[in-house]
Symmetry: C2
Subunit: 324 residues, 2 copies
């Protein structure tokens, strides 16, 4: 029996916020529909932040309203503070992720609050949810959990201390984020095992950036510990303006191929997912798109975890020289 | 105590044979020297094949002669038949890899021999080595071990049967090659464990192509089984003419970062390795170069497995939007 893994698509939030272009609302709605139609069951559709700071997210209410019309889709958003969460709760989303940095340096740069101030903010957010929106899930997305671009190395104890503060605040789920591609599989195994042993059912998913090409390697380690929710972004949309060529989140298409090949059922149809890239190509012509599966096609003889055959496999005639 | 992993650089062979450009001999020699100076201890410097078939390898004798002058470098080549092996042995290399396909279809397309004919050829090659060149190691590089672009799915039993034939022929080492990016980590774990349990000290290394972006994920699985030799190509040089955008072998720079981050000592200096890319940029201006670490730099606080600090870490100021 195949195990199930939830691929949580974060492209419309983490991808779109990190690029220069602003995606037209109409294209966003079509993209989200196409992603859901390809079998993605959870999509982080944007963030509730001031439009002045992030014009890419100015249409968040319209985007959420559209996403909520898609049957069966779990609609998630990011919100960095009480005000954003209030608006998110009112919009009727199913889940809100709070970006909580392990290091004070990253916390100040990212959300202009110390880690202590953010813990207090989370306490208020959970209280508001408990009082007025009991059906909405809250995830703490613990950022720079594996290392920080500003503070440098981050110890396991530092990360676990912030997770403990989040558990104590009453969030439902605690995920670990490798914000800038610092994580390695050894560390991923160690930290997720500890997260699970210390926080039980509150232990959440993995959010890896592919900055140094290590994203899927870290996924393998996370899967070993029993992680069943993994974030990814179609076409690895995002990148990093200070590191040309550095990709953003791990690529959903390549992740789906990894999981299905390993026998984890994701419910994703990779051909349909690849087809959805055309919306990005058209709406964001200036942005780099990443990934491999869209170019290489599915292997001959490929089967999904549930036994389905793909619609098409790309014939390969790659022999040149003497292959090994 | 860190474990050691041997990164076997195959760019001058597997990379150069798969691209359109022919690298000038002078640049090849400088490249190989730069790779060795960056700490790579084994380099597959080319293949002994007819220059008419592979003009990229026409200078193999000169390249081997140069590589043999580099102190401490283990010089490897590929040779597909007895005639090529005779020339390779005469050249004084330390190791010859034989490309042996699991499937008859791939064997015919790649070397114009059935698998049965190739097994007979290997027997003769080992006999020649035993009689006249006892100091030279022979590795069977078992191709399409995880799936075949022509025959499709390959069973574990098929692959192990070919490995058994190779062991019986008397090769020193049996490596498994994912020739076209068909492998997944579950399969990699299963096959390398079986290789080790059935062939003991003859069980060799892993040769992964990154066709579908799964290369480093497969490395994590191989490491778990105790594999200590992993092939890679600088800048992922190679690619596939039939799948634009599909990379060649896994990228040495990203692999070295993975291994060192996980605590495996490779002896590689990543800064020097990245610097060697400039030789490719200059000598092969038309070819795509891959990888992430060269753009992202090493993380702040990074330490090599042996405790060394890197020469430089790239400061990152990647905050844009609200990071997770």
């Amino acid at each position: 029996m195949p195990c199930h893994v939830l691929v949580s698509e974060v492209g419309p939030r983490d991808g779109l916020q990190s690029i220069k272009s602003v995606m037209p609302t109409d294209a966003k709605l079509r993209w989200i529909s196409a992603l859901a139609a390809a079998g993605l069951k959870e999509i982080e559709v944007g963030s509730f932040v001031p439009a002045k700071l992030l014009p890419q997210m100015a249409d968040i209410r319209e985007v959420v309203a559209h996403a909520l019309t898609i049957a069966g889709l779990h609609v998630a958003v990011l919100a960095p503070n009480l005000r954003g969460c209030q608006a998110a709760f009112e919009s009727g989303v199913h889940k809100v992720t709070l970006p909580v940095s392990v290091t004070n340096e990253h916390s100040m740069a990212n959300i202009r609050k110390t880690t202590g101030e953010m813990i207090e903010e989370v306490r208020k957010i959970v209280a508001l949810r408990d009082a007025e929106y009991p059906g909405i899930a809250i995830e703490a997305g613990v950022s720079v959990a594996f290392g920080c671009t500003i503070a440098g190395a981050v110890s396991d104890d530092q990360t676990i201390r912030m997770c403990a503060a989040m558990a104590e605040c009453g969030v439902d789920e605690i995920g670990l984020s490798d914000t800038s591609g610092y994580a390695n599989p050894t560390q991923v195994r160690r930290l997720f095992r500890r997260l699970q042993s210390e926080f039980g059912s509150k232990a959440g998913g993995a959010h890896f950036h592919n900055t140094r090409g290590q994203g899927l390697a870290n996924v393998v380690a996370a899967l070993e510990t029993g992680v069943t929710t993994i974030d990814a972004s179609q076409a690895g949309l995002g990148g990093c303006p200070y590191a040309p060529g550095a990709t953003g989140n791990i690529v959903t298409e390549d992740l789906a191929f990894l999981l299905e090949s390993m026998g984890y059922d994701t419910g994703i149809d990779i051909d349909s997912l690849v087809a959805a890239r055309s919306i990005l190509t058209e709406a964001l012509p200036a942005e780099a798109l990443y990934g491999h599966v869209q170019d290489a096609g599915l292997p001959k003889g490929f089967r999904y975890a549930d036994g389905r055959s793909p619609g098409a496999v790309q014939p390969e005639g790659c022999l040149k020289g003497v292959a090994q």
